[in-house]
């Protein structure tokens, strides 16, 4: 008990004296704040992509696509779609229609508001596809497109990025004028970056003989196995079947992987620099207090109590730094829209990222404090008392 009391007494005394070393101590706080702010901002980009990609996706929706190619020009004929619709496990709506939506996606080039052109996706969908997303999909303005007419609706992120996408505008795609008849939002998901029109109209306008992939709503998530086995064992179909969240996850893995690599790399190199700065601060602090420490040890305080007090000081500087850095990253960037690789999404500084920032700071505090702590605890008392 006496031991703990010793630690407490030395630590409290040490922390009380912190304001007198404010200038040097601030170096660690600012350094850690910069590392954490930069790292969380970079990782926040990846977290934003991940959230946008997965937003509103349901476990009970499966995607059927062609094996081999990732972005195909089209792989499913209307006959194939009919076969998929008859597979076991497919949900039917109140009128008995199977919940199956063939999709035809085209990459189109639009005039970016920032100048130049950018690739956007025109997805051909339909009524059933809309029903599948009815939980998150809302029209903001105008109305839905009609089948057979060159009409489309645009996501709000697309509207933000490209020119001429207000309701009522007309844009020319492949020599054909298309009218923007509505605008939608979809829970901040990636789909808000695209234009949506009727699948068959898109196929006809862009001369596509087949659909690209097929979305299927299952009776329940547990029917997936049954549905998948039925399709993959059907010799007339050459398909790959995945749960929609898994599919999105695989699609975004290369991008988020790269972003987290950059985040951790830059965060790591910066942290090394801050450890050097923090070591400097702590060594100077120990140095400035060497007579005080020697006096404490001379009157009976243990080396461990002194060492712990130095470590606690190191943490006491790093942790507020991390909180400050998280706050900066959150204020500047959380919810901040950025456009990258042709998609626009909101950055997301999540609580788990803040926790990561705190861990990072704790490691910096530990590495930057341990050697000075050992030095403080082991320096010969007599020598320290004698030196001026």
């Amino acid at each position: 008990m006496g031991f703990l009391r010793q630690i407490w007494a030395v630590t409290a005394m040490n922390l009380a004296a912190l304001p007198s070393r404010a200038g040097a101590s601030l170096v660690t706080v600012i350094g850690v704040a910069c590392v954490v702010a930069v790292m969380l901002s970079l990782l926040g980009i990846g977290a934003g992509v991940a959230r946008a990609m997965k937003s509103g996706e349901r476990d009970d929706v499966a995607i059927v696509h062609a094996p081999g190619a990732t972005i195909t020009m089209g792989s499913f004929s209307p006959g194939d779609v009919a076969q998929i619709a008859q597979a076991p496990g497919v949900k039917r709506d109140a009128t008995g229609r199977p919940m199956v939506q063939p999709q035809a996606s085209i990459v189109v080039e639009l005039q970016a508001k920032s100048g130049g052109t950018n690739n956007a996706s025109l997805s051909g969908s339909g009524e059933i596809g809309r029903e599948m997303r009815s939980g998150s999909f809302h029209l903001l303005a105008g109305r839905f497109y009609r089948s057979g007419l060159h009409e489309l609706i645009v996501g709000k992120a697309a509207q933000r990025q490209y020119k001429n996408l207000d309701v009522g505008d007309t844009i020319t795609l492949r020599g054909t004028p298309w009218t923007v008849v509505g605008a939608f939002e979809d829970a901040g998901g990636i789909d808000e970056n695209s234009l949506v029109a009727d699948a068959d109209t898109v196929r006809a306008a862009f001369n596509r003989p087949s659909y690209q992939n097929v979305l299927v709503e299952l009776q329940s998530a547990s029917n997936f196995r049954q549905f998948k086995d039925a399709l993959t064992s059907n010799p007339q179909l050459q398909v790959k079947v995945e749960r929609l969240p898994d599919y999105s996850e695989a699609q975004l893995k290369p991008l988020t992987g790269l972003l987290s690599f950059v985040g951790y790399f830059v965060g790591g190199v910066m942290a090394v620099g801050v450890v050097f700065g923090s070591l400097n601060t702590m060594y100077s602090a120990v140095d400035a207090r060497r007579r005080e420490i020697a006096t404490l040890r001379a009157i009976g305080f243990g080396g461990i109590a002194v060492a712990v007090s130095v470590l606690v000081e190191s943490f006491a500087l790093a942790i507020p730094g991390a909180l400050l850095g998280s706050l900066i990253a959150w204020l500047l960037f959380s919810g901040h829209d950025i456009a990258m690789a042709g998609i626009s999404f909101a950055m997301d500084v999540t609580p788990s990222l803040v926790a990561l920032g705190l861990i990072w700071a704790a490691v910096i505090g530990l590495v930057g404090g341990i050697a000075p702590a050992v030095q403080a605890a082991t320096r010969p008392v007599v020598g320290a008392l004698r030196t001026t």
Binding site: V27, V38, A69, I106, F276, L279
Partner: protein, 382 residues
């Protein structure tokens, strides 16, 4: 100069502290050099491109196929020297690889005529023409995957499926020297147009893009608009741009990387400024009696000021030099692995200028403090 020894001794007055300070400055400049080198490489690639090469793609998007019927019309457009159809065949080899490998299916003869640098040696073009499922690789790809002539290269193409739904059974017939400056072909593999076109399940008889070489680089823009005018209002409108324009657009599409890098570097130097500034301030405070002695033996106020600023300059320039040097060592690696041709000179010069600025901002306040010391007070320890 004769005081350099004194300055150097001041830098190393506390060796432990000096080493830590130097390490943190080296670290910051290394990071700066790496990031800024990467950005300069990305922007630099655009400047390195040929002026006489045009790329024709669909006005709808890069992925939209163009009918081969357009090729003879393009070839007969005035100002066009040669034109070759290409199919984008970029895809994945080995699933664990992070990035797709980039490549095109080309018609060997017309490609050789339009290839601006003769990047691919005639022998390899010949070998490609003789092997239907052949593929020639730049040395970089061959080295990454340890491929040599005769090896199979099963490729999972991003865009195209074979009729049996499997991977493309390509076979390596040649390895040519990689040219990272040639972003279009110096780093891409080449397969046979006819083979890929006939074996794919859709879009047969189309090209992804046309590679065009013009007679006169200064007339490239006019030739481009002449080509596009021919197909205006047809179902397959084209967009013809110079290779440079195209590269600049695709870099822009990735996002404003320059801004991100500047923000990171800004944060790093903000933290570094405090760290170096605090160390300099502390060091001068500890040396108050020594500075007073220097003044006593005849150093005037400005000499003390210059001495302290010089100490900051030596520290920062010495460490920045090491950090930038380490970063410069990685430039050839960046060049070899990503194909970016890093423009190191400006990056290093700006780095040194930043080191000088860092030294002045962190060294001046303690230097002014040193200048203002009154001998009597300082010696008395007040």
């Amino acid at each position: 100069m004769k005081f350099l020894h004194l300055v150097w001794a001041g830098v190393w007055r506390k060796p432990g502290r000096a080493l830590l300070t130097l390490a943190s400055i080296i670290n910051a400049f290394l990071l700066y050099g790496l990031l800024q080198g990467f950005v300069s490489g990305m922007n630099g690639t655009v400047d390195d491109l040929h002026a006489d090469v045009l790329i024709t793609e669909s006005r709808v998007s890069q992925l939209e196929p163009l009918p081969m019927a357009q090729l003879p019309l393009i070839r007969s457009t005035p100002g066009v020297k040669a034109a070759a159809p290409l199919i984008i065949l970029t895809g994945a080899y080995r699933t664990q690889a992070i990035a797709n490998i980039r490549g095109f299916a080309v018609d060997p003869a017309s490609f050789a005529a339009a290839d601006p640098d003769a990047a691919v040696p005639a022998g390899d073009i010949q070998a490609l023409a003789q092997t239907r499922n052949g593929v020639v690789l730049p040395a970089t790809i061959a080295a990454t995957f340890h491929l040599k002539v005769g090896d199979p290269l099963p490729l999972k193409a991003l865009l195209w499926t074979t009729k049996d739904g499997s991977t493309w059974p390509l076979q390596v017939v040649g390895v040519y020297p990689a040219n990272p400056r040639d972003t279009l072909f110096g780093t891409s593999f080449l397969a046979n147009f006819d083979y890929v076109d006939q074996a794919r399940t859709q879009s047969n008889g189309t090209a992804s893009i046309y590679l065009i070489r013009v007679n006169d680089p200064s007339a490239a823009n006019q030739v481009a608009s002449r080509i596009d005018a021919q197909f205006a209002n047809s179902p397959d409108e084209t967009k013809t741009e110079s290779e440079r324009q195209l590269a600049a657009d695709s870099i822009k599409q990735i996002g404003d990387i320059g801004f991100v890098v500047r923000a990171i570097v800004g944060a790093v130097f903000f933290a570094l400024l405090f760290s170096v500034g605090a160390v300099m301030m502390q060091s001068v405070r500890e040396r108050t009696p020594e500075l007073a002695v220097l003044k006593t033996i005849g150093f005037d106020d400005n000499a003390i000021l210059s001495l302290i600023v010089a100490e900051a300059l030596v520290t920062c320039l010495f460490a920045a030099g090491i950090g930038l040097g380490l970063a410069a060592l990685t430039f050839p690696i960046i060049r070899a692995s990503i194909g970016f041709n890093v423009h190191g000179g400006p990056v290093l010069l700006i780095g040194l200028a930043m080191a000088v600025a860092l030294a002045l901002i962190s060294g001046l306040p303690p230097a002014i403090r040193g200048r203002r010391l009154s001998i009597v007070d300082a010696l008395a320890g007040r």
